[in-house]
Symmetry: C2
Subunit: 209 residues, 2 copies
DNA sequence: TCCCCTCCTGCACCGGCGGTACAGTTTTGA
DNA sequence: TCAAAACTGTACCGCCGGTGCAGGAGGGGA
């Protein structure tokens, strides 16, 4: 039936916004049901407890996150065949997407879960871990493609460089939110882009990608 | 009087560890008093409410954080006069300090507060903001010293590069904690070091700092 | 048309927690 | 020794997460 899914989605929408602002512990089920206009019984019909809500929330967030990266880098691939240019263009597109967010990035659920770990079960922690590993694989794959064509100027570990993309994103979100400077995150992504460009592009030529 | 301060410190120690694992919302006052062996009345004698505990916790954390950076970079300055070498050495020392942490980095309170913002008052949010701005000023100062001697290979904004240090640290902590790979954070710092080195060091010479 | 299944509502209740209030007690340093 | 500091003990409040269960609306298939 349709109606159930719709309500479930509405709860998840409200919950996601609340959790990103106040953390899981700071978000009460009572406030969620108040905002969605559902009763407590209705809530517990959809989610057995808070842990299951968190699970659903995290899974949905990660799926959406992956979809966004897929879109961005496939758009980049449509525009160039060169793996380095694809990556640089992808970072550019990402930074544009981030700076277009009206109120800045709302926060990353992976980080929220990370700073709340002890109260969740192993399954949710594993989900979170796998999400970060998926980022590592995604960016690592692209970086390996680049390295087949462009020898890096300095010896680097691919996984560590791939992780740096995640680091700068996660850290940039924290900085942006804390400083209340929405643009900081986008700037950090461009800074990372400069790094990647410098690492792989020959000294002589410096075309804009 | 001494005794009061001692108890206060013990509460803060227990609270800091708990908050970094479970967030503010996930940490109950009852568990804190159980672990410190104090009564509820005793707790509220030291802190008016949870918000004041958070305030004290954050201020202490930030002070300690600043002290650590002061020590690291003053040690680096003792070993070399060159501003670039000082910075690179400082990052190296920092990464060593981080990889020596027995159970990995426990987490950053600034990030915790960032992901819990809405439940705190303006004062605590301002404190958090100022902490990040202090990082920006600290690293920015060092980078400006570098740029007076070494022209950067690519045009960069100093504040944004300074922020990148904070980004990589905050992001590295999230990755390290989520992946349960304590070493990831230290590796990320070294990765950043590679970036800074590449940005400022002339192409020809590549001495190890 | 009837009935079943999904999708809820309403209500009563529990225990934990943040917080208040306040009286009394021990500890400590001048 | 004495006052202030640093607590303890007790009783209480309201919110919240969570349980249990009975019942009802509404739509889709037989």
């Amino acid at each position: 039936m349709r109606k159930g899914e719709e309500t479930r989605t509405r709860i998840l929408d409200v919950a996601e916004a609340a959790v990103l602002q106040k953390g899981f512990g700071g978000t009460s089920i009572e406030e969620l049901i108040a905002e969605t206009g559902i009763t407590k019984s209705g809530f517990f019909y959809h989610f057995r407890d808070k842990n299951e809500l968190a699970k659903a929330l995290l899974n949905r967030y990660i799926e959406n996150d992956e979809r966004i990266y897929d879109e961005i880098f496939s758009r980049a691939r449509d525009l160039t065949d060169d793996p380095l240019q694809t990556f640089l263009l992808g970072l550019k597109l990402l930074s544009e997407l981030l700076s277009d967010l009206p109120n800045g990035h709302p926060g990353c659920l992976v980080a929220t879960v990370c700073y709340y770990e002890r109260l969740f079960d192993r399954e949710i922690q594993e989900t979170n871990r796998n999400a970060v590993l998926a980022w590592r694989r995604r960016f690592g794959r692209m970086l390996r493609d680049i390295m087949e064509v462009y020898p890096p100027r300095e010896p680097i570990n691919v996984d560590q460089l791939a992780d740096m993309v995640s680091s700068v994103l996660e850290g940039g979100i924290v900085l942006s939110k804390t400083l209340k400077e929405p643009n900081t995150l986008a700037e950090q992504v461009l800074m990372l882009r400069t790094f990647v460009k410098m690492l792989f592009l020959p000294v002589a030529e410096m075309p804009r990608a």
